[in-house]
């Protein structure tokens, strides 16, 4: 096994920022808005770095698809302990329509090119909440997948993954190479240490274009409109149960 792990890291609007929809309802405002690494991607990076510290894998490669600023996100991964980065340049219109299908094609191509043993991604991004990239990447590679992982353990040449599912926890054994997506309770990401922030400066980030990987970025989806969620309205008090039932019927809920 190559001992190499690919970790996808996405640059998203920071979780603490109040999201504003553009006046033309085409998308949300991103200019001048604080961005950071998707929290589930942080958990993915942390897991990869922990595996390396346990000497179960040899190299952590952080990958991000996006414009120039995606390099900041890669640098954060390097400061957390990733060994090198790959920046897949996607900008302008292509970036606006970039989604799980294209990203999974890119990740699959890179996984083959880098002879990765493992691909670890966040379970979903907090901007689009798609929860698709990991699953699609595994399908394109025809690799097993351990999604919503809250625990990952190597067991010989197999991987034991404990998954968070609606009914509780599910434990599966998958062979490697495999794709894993990180859920909230997998770990608590570390703060970058200052020496690692200094070392990150010297680590390499390779630049790659999607065309170099043979990936077509055309989107199959078109966003028609983006709206704010409806404003919460005041409630109504009723006197009797009959009133309640008739109000619910009026509102079409019964």
């Amino acid at each position: 096994m190559s001992g190499r792990v690919l970790v996808g890291v996405k640059r998203v609007i920071d979780y603490a920022v109040k999201i504003r929809v553009k006046p033309d309802n085409s998308s949300v405002v991103t200019d001048g808005v604080k961005h950071s690494m998707n929290p589930f991607c942080e958990i993915a990076v942390e897991e990869a770095v922990k595996l390396k510290e346990k000497k179960l894998i040899k190299e952590v490669v952080a990958v991000s698809c996006g414009p120039q600023q995606a390099q900041e996100t890669i640098r954060t991964a390097l400061a957390m302990g990733a060994d090198r980065g790959i920046h897949v340049e996607v900008s302008g219109k292509d970036y606006e329509t970039l989604g799980p299908l294209q990203v999974s094609k890119i990740m699959a191509a890179l996984a083959k090119k880098e002879e990765a043993q493992l691909v670890i991604l966040g379970k979903q991004a907090i901007d689009d909440d798609c929860n698709q990239t990991g699953q699609m990447t595994a399908a394109l590679l025809d690799w097993p997948q351990g999604t919503f992982a809250s625990e990952v353990a190597f067991d010989g040449d197999k991987i034991k993954v404990v998954r968070e599912i609606d009914g509780g926890l599910e434990t599966i054994m998958i062979s490697s190479p495999a794709v894993i997506t990180a859920d909230l309770r997998l770990n608590t990401p570390r703060y970058a240490t200052l020496p690692n922030i200094m070392k990150a400066k010297k680590k390499k980030i390779a630049n790659v274009k999607p065309a170099d990987l043979g990936v077509d970025l055309t989107s199959r989806l078109e966003v028609l409109r983006v709206d704010e969620p409806p404003q919460r309205e005041a409630g109504v008090k009723v006197e009797t149960v009959d009133d309640l039932v008739s109000k619910l019927k009026d509102a079409g809920r019964l």
């Binding site: 970058a192 240490t193 200052l194």
Partner: protein, 393 residues
């Protein structure tokens, strides 16, 4: 005076990548680990032990110390950024970071022998141990040259007697740098510096002072009664104590300026947020010019002081003279935070006066920055002294 190359000063316009990541890392730590507990630490006067240990693990407790000695090997610009972000979350924690870095490790790093550095710095890089700096006495603060604590040699030991006052970190420290007179006739040139472990026979602590602010730090007298240390515990040459203290304080001032900036920024954040949310006269109060002018003045005060602080740090990193700039940074930052925290309470009105909002704590924390590590009056004397030298006929 020729100043450093353009590259250093472009940092004033936009920070280098590493520094941006460092700043963000410290900000995230402060937001998640310090801001939620700062109120409780203040109420309970509780030393932030766990957070100091975590900061130690990150390298923040020994930022300038080379990696071989266990530090982060970063520059003073990075240090100013870190202290500001930490202080924005919790001013007391920022103070602990600053005292350990600048006042305790600082002099040992600059004036210590290799053995002293290994013994007295390395264990203090991890956050497990913090140090303190004992210069002031009940009889002299600004008048540092009048040190009445004495040290006499007896065989292969130094014996120290005297009392030091207002020592930050004293109750939580594992070592101290102490200044004592070894040759009274030489006046301020007869003061020497010593390293004393804590606890230690002959060294005792006075009661913890009940302060207006930075309540999570301990401040107390250090009492020396025939306190004996080996000859090897003298730091730097005999008689160099005053020089060591003054040079240490020059750097320490950049740390305190950064602490003041953090508190000032927190006050501004609090006031600006409130200005958006508080409705009065039918609209958010941020629409009122009276409030707008306050916010503008606060931002100008903080940003000017911040640029002076960064300049002082950059000069120090370029190994250029920085005494005047450090004093200017500390003076402006401390006066800025007194102003900002005062105005923040004014913007919040009644809400600013109660502990439900952090504004009152910022106001109390801010006040010390105009006093310790050289009062604003001393800063003015330092700056004037430098100006007069520059203009010497």
């Amino acid at each position: 005076m020729a100043l450093g190359g353009c590259r250093s000063f472009s940092a004033l316009a936009e920070l280098p990548d590493t520094h941006q990541i460092l700043r963000q890392t410290c900000r995230d730590f402060a937001d998640r680990e310090l801001t939620p507990i700062a109120g409780r630490l203040d109420r309970e006067h509780a030393f932030p032990l766990k957070q100091v240990q975590e900061l130690g693990a990150m390298g923040v407790m020994a930022m300038e110390v080379p990696e071989e000695l266990g530090g982060a090997g970063m520059d003073y610009l990075a240090y100013s950024l870190a202290v500001e972000e930490i202080s924005r979350g919790c001013a007391s924690t920022g103070c602990v970071v600053s005292v350990n870095n600048s006042l305790y490790i600082g002099p040992v790093l600059k004036f210590g022998t290799e053995e002293q550095k290994t013994e007295w710095i390395t264990p203090f890089t991890t956050g497990e141990k913090v140090g303190c700096f004992a210069l002031s006495e009940p009889g002299n603060g600004s008048d540092a040259g009048a040190a009445s604590t004495v040290a006499r040699q007896e065989g292969d030991e130094w014996v120290l007697n005297g009392t030091k006052a207002w020592i930050t970190n004293s109750w939580d420290a594992a070592a101290t740098v102490v200044f004592a007179t070894t040759d009274k006739k030489l006046k301020h040139k007869g003061i020497s510096a010593f390293l004393i472990p804590m606890p230690h026979p002959g060294l005792s602590l006075g009661k913890k002072e009940d302060k207006l602010g930075i309540k999570a730090t301990s401040t107390a007298n250090i009492i020396l009664e025939d306190c004996r240390v080996p000859l090897g515990n003298m730091l730097g040459p005999r008689g160099a104590g005053f020089k060591i203290a003054m040079q240490t304080l020059d750097s320490g001032r950049i740390g305190i300026a950064a602490q003041a900036l953090g508190i000032a920024q927190a006050s501004l954040d609090c006031a600006a947020d409130y200005a958006h949310k508080r409705i009065a006269f039918g609209a958010p109060i941020g629409k009122l010019q009276a409030v707008q002018f306050k916010l503008a003045d606060m931002n100008v005060a903080v940003e000017s002081a911040r640029l002076l602080t960064w300049k002082a740090a950059l000069l120090r990193d370029s190994k250029k003279p920085f005494t005047k700039e450090a004093a200017m940074a500390k003076l402006t930052a401390s006066e800025a935070v007194t102003f900002c925290s005062h105005q923040a309470i004014q913007v919040l009105g009644g809400m600013g006066y109660v502990s439900d909002m952090p504004a009152e704590r910022h106001y109390r924390d801010a006040r010390i920055t105009e006093i310790y590590e050289g009062t604003s009056e001393i800063q003015r004397l330092v700056i004037a002294g430098q100006i007069l030298k520059e203009y010497q006929a």
